[in-house]
């Protein structure tokens, strides 16, 4: 299967959108494009499975290597392994859902969907590219659309949030850029990931480069204490924007942390592993407690994202294979879950025009579907078995427990403690919003979800459940990649 399709489809979609006449055409084009992309991703998954079953033990599948710049030895090197496929699936699902959820956008529709698709394009490119320059290129492509999405279609203190978000992300990518330049000269004028993963980088350089990469990508994935863009950005963004931010762009960071920082610089990872563990277990508890104090649903979900993403970073810091698998699972699960959560918040906001927990109540009566989804998402985020959150978190815990020293154990326990706090804030929020007597008689005649919202919610729920009920497939998908990374860490 030709991976370029994954880039061409969004590109064509975006350009077609620019040619569309009215907003309806735009919406359908975007929808069609994203669905095609989702289908592609699924096809990719099955082709990959077929290959694996056929006994193809290659590290990368469907590789392509197009020379961009001879003299600087820059290659457009793309390929996929299980990890990137899972990420692509996540992205495709979130994109479809996002397109559907923003169906009733009527302000500058064309630009809106154009930017959405552009953002998606960046993500797709990022996940399949195995050359640092290309990777970085796609990473940065997806930044400016975020700025405009928040700035133009956002709400609340949007200019501030947009500025903060884009500047912090740019700060991160600046560090990454320096790291790439360093790699360029260390790797003998070649920044191909596979090439770099085969050379041995001197330890003292790894100690310099690792923080650059890890913090750089960490900023994208709300690595404590570089997380402050998350609450503001998410809360100001339009629904689809928040979904993309939480569901896709935070994953870019996590993926980068693993694929670039840890994979290429294992020595550095060992050096700073403990720091990461400390910071992220702080982030988990701290995020949970801060979440507990939030009144605004979007802020609540944003902070809980900080806490949840903390799990995957913690797992990355643990440097055991199970933990790494768990980290990836957590990323995917969190992506689906948070995207859906933001979607639900968006739906509620569209109807009640408030996101304040204490102004909502008893919505179960008027919008059963939405509140049910809200329930499921809430349960997923507090890690209920049968939903993706549980699988991911448990894998993380078991994986973290594998290294048997008190330090890591304590960190794990601290992290695990958050499942209680999570239960507290989720139940408070959900209970307040859905249960109890109807808060405001004006809500009495509100409508339940429309077809597009239902469809989108179902797509995401399908993802959540398919991971939660039969986690095996995801596990098989992620394990080989994690194993390769692990081998590089253990130096096998």
């Amino acid at each position: 299967m030709n991976l370029l399709l994954l880039l061409i489809v969004p590109l064509i979609t975006a350009l077609t959108i620019l040619l569309c006449r009215n907003s309806l055409q735009v919406k359908w084009t975007a929808f069609a494009g994203s669905v095609v992309q989702l289908v592609l991703a699924l096809v990719l998954l099955f082709v990959y499975r077929a290959e694996v079953v056929a006994g193809n033990a290659a590290q990368l599948f469907f590789e392509q290597d197009i020379t961009l710049i001879e003299s600087l030895n820059m290659h457009f090197h793309i390929g996929v392994d299980g990890i990137s496929i899972s990420m692509l699936l996540l992205t495709a699902m979130v994109v479809v859902a996002g397109v559907l959820f923003s169906w009733n956008t009527n302000k500058m529709t064309k630009e809106f969907y154009f930017l959405l698709i552009l953002l998606a394009l960046g993500a797709y490119g990022f996940f399949i590219s195995f050359n640092l320059l290309v990777l970085f290129f796609f990473l940065e492509i997806s930044i400016i659309p975020k700025y405009l999405l928040i700035g133009i279609w956002g709400s609340g203190n949007k200019e501030y949030s947009a500025n903060k978000l884009v500047l912090m992300l740019m700060m991160g990518s600046a560090l990454i850029m320096v790291g790439i330049l360093g790699m360029y000269y260390i790797g003998g004028h070649d920044v191909d990931l596979m090439h770099l993963s085969n050379i041995s980088i001197p330890a003292h350089l790894q100690k310099i480069l690792f923080p650059l990469f890890f913090i750089g990508f960490g900023v994208f994935t709300a690595f404590f204490p570089f997380h402050t863009w998350v609450p503001d950005g998410h809360s100001s963004a339009p629904t689809a924007g928040s979904m993309f931010l939480a569901g896709i762009s935070m994953k870019l960071g996590g993926y980068g942390c693993l694929r670039v920082a840890i994979f290429l610089l294992p020595e550095g990872a060992k050096e700073y592993g403990q720091v990461i563990v400390i910071l992220s277990s702080i982030a988990i508890l701290y995020g949970a407690f801060v979440t507990m104090m939030q009144k605004d649903l979007k802020y609540l979900n944003a902070y809980s994202s900080v806490s949840h993403v903390g799990f995957s970073l913690l797992a990355l810091g643990m440097l055991t294979q199970t933990a790494i698998t768990g980290a990836l699972m957590q990323m995917i699960s969190h992506g689906l879950m948070t995207a859906l959560f933001f979607a639900v918040i968006g739906m509620i906001y569209d109807r009640t025009h408030t996101r304040m927990v204490n102004e909502l109540g008893g919505l179960m009566k008027v919008m059963p579907f939405i509140t049910t989804v809200l329930f499921i998402v809430g349960l997923c985020s507090l890690g209920l078995p049968g939903l993706s959150g549980f699988v991911a978190e448990m894998t993380v815990f078991v994986g973290s427990w594998q290294n048997d020293d008190v330090f890591h154990r304590v960190a794990t326990i601290a992290a695990a403690m958050s499942i209680v706090v999570t239960a507290v804030y989720i139940l408070r929020a959900v209970g307040q919003v859905a249960m109890g007597p109807l808060k405001n008689e004006a809500y009495a005649h509100l409508t339940d979800a429309k077809w597009n919202e239902k469809l989108a919610a179902i797509i995401l729920l399908a993802g959540i459940l398919s991971i939660g009920l039969v986690p095996g497939w995801l596990n098989d998908l992620l394990t080989p990649g994690a194993e390769i990374i692990m081998n590089r860490i253990t130096g096998k």
Partner: protein
């Protein structure tokens, strides 16, 4: 004989056009409406011709020499001038002395060509003056505006001052080495304090022309006061020319002093980027804003130069190629707006997207390109500069430089935000864009978008040296 002509073809072309214009001028003259298209046509021919019959070699007793790279650089300048002639048609149409203006501009261009080809201090000095004095006159071209003449005054005085410094340096060099020929100078390897001092005098003159901090102060004032056509000519064409020749001077002539000038360049690059950004942050006038931002850009060029390898050369050339398109596009939009509704302040741009989507997109693109955000070519330009610089510079330095990219993004976004996000009940009315301007803007945007994606362009430049 033939190859002698071909060797100097660019210069001869420009000279020919100059004479043509002179004849037209001294003849019965011509209406701007008819003259301008003619000029644009001639310049277009000039651009096209520039790409054929390239010849390399020396002339005038090694005072003049030409290589493929130099020819390419000249072509970049040609393109730039052609774009200028298109972009500012509105203003050209209105101005009283169109022919003179182009006479001045083209003679400045001629000076730059000779400067690029010069292989001798004397030649270089003459070319430099030829390239700078007419610009001072061009800066004064809004004859009735106070600001314009103030700008011109500042320009000519500081230029003269800097050439005084330059000459003093050259004289000392002559005193130390007894030669003013680049070739011989590059073989002179014995370092002496006097020689170093001479070099620094010389270098600071370059820094002045490149508007490197702390020799940059004239820039902003002149840019703001001068007509936009002049400003863009200054900030794009002459800057590019000086950068090109600076590379030759540093890499070839002062090869022996490399250890010194490396540190010098790095130091100035650092100061320039930081100060340039800090000044650009609070600008409200678009022209002034672009002036300072271009100062910061120069800092990045210096980073590329500090690489002191072939990548350094080609990355700078590549960046300037991109820079021509990006910056000219920006100035083009600014001039269109200030010509039509005569507003130049960022706050006037609020809600521009509602009324003028095309202009807004072009301006946004160019700003992103200047900020170095993908997928624009500026991203690659910056990236290559840093790649070149990274060959020797330390991580700390690189981090500082790259973080400054973030600051620069901040103020570029200020404009973007004003145009796209900010609400404004009375935005600038929809503007009628004349055909040549539109064409030029489209060319620029295409350049911004495509140059980056065509990797072979960089390879081509690389292959030139």
């Amino acid at each position: 004989m033939n190859e002698f002509f071909l060797l100097m073809k660019s210069e001869l072309m420009v000279t020919a056009i100059i004479f043509l214009l002179l004849f037209i001028k001294v003849g019965k003259g011509m209406q701007n409406e008819r003259l301008l298209p003619l000029i644009q046509l001639l310049l277009l021919l000039n651009v096209i011709f520039g790409f054929f019959f390239n010849q390399e070699g020396n002339a005038f007793g090694d005072m003049f020499h030409s290589t493929p790279m130099i020819v390419f650089e000249k072509n970049i300048l040609n393109v730039g001038v052609y774009l200028i002639s298109m972009l500012f048609s509105d203003w050209f149409k209105k101005t009283a002395h169109l022919a003179e203006y182009f006479l001045l501009m083209l003679s400045a261009l001629l000076g730059m060509f000779f400067m690029l080809s010069s292989a001798n201090m004397l030649m270089f000095y003459l070319a430099l003056e030829l390239a700078s004095i007419p610009v001072a006159a061009m800066a004064n071209f809004n004859l009735t505006q106070k600001q314009s003449s103030e700008a011109a005054m500042k320009m000519i005085l500081s230029a003269a001052f800097s050439s005084g410094i330059l000459l003093f340096g050259i004289s000392l060099i002559y005193g130390v080495t007894g030669t003013i020929n680049f070739e011989e100078l590059s073989n002179y390897t014995t370092l002496s304090p006097l020689y170093t001092m001479a070099f620094i005098f010389l270098f600071s003159a370059f820094a002045f022309k490149l508007s490197v901090v702390p020799f940059h102060f004239w820039t902003a004032d002149v840019y703001e006061g001068a007509p936009i056509a002049t400003t863009s000519f200054l900030s794009v064409i002459s800057k590019a020319a000086v950068a090109f020749i600076l590379i030759t001077v540093l890499y070839k002539v002062f090869q022996p002093l490399q250890n010194i000038w490396y540190v010098l360049v790095l130091l100035l690059a650092f100061i320039t980027i930081v100060i340039g950004n800090l000044f650009a942050m609070r600008q409200q006038n678009m022209k002034r804003f672009l002036a300072y931002s271009s100062i910061a850009q120069v800092g990045f060029i210096l980073v590329g130069i500090s690489g002191s390898n072939t990548t350094g050369i080609s990355s700078v050339v590549y960046f300037l190629l991109v820079y021509v398109f990006s910056n000219l596009a920006a100035f083009g939009v600014v001039s269109v707006i200030s010509e039509q509704v005569n507003k130049e302040s960022i706050s006037d741009y609020k809600g521009l997207y509602q009324t003028n989507p095309l202009l807004t997109w072009v301006l946004a693109l160019s700003l992103f390109s200047l900020a170095g955000v993908p997928p624009t070519a500026g991203f690659f330009g910056k990236f290559f500069l840093l790649t070149a610089g990274g060959a020797k510079a330390s991580y700390a330095f690189m981090i500082v430089v790259v973080l400054n990219m973030v600051i620069s993004l901040y103020y570029y976004l200020k404009v973007v935000r004003a145009m796209f996000i900010d609400q404004n009940e009375t935005p600038i009315a929809a503007i009628q864009i004349s055909a040549p301007v539109k064409l030029a803007l489209i060319i620029c945007s295409a350049g911004i978008l495509l140059i980056g994606l065509f990797g072979w362009i960089f390879d081509f430049i690389q292959s030139l040296n």
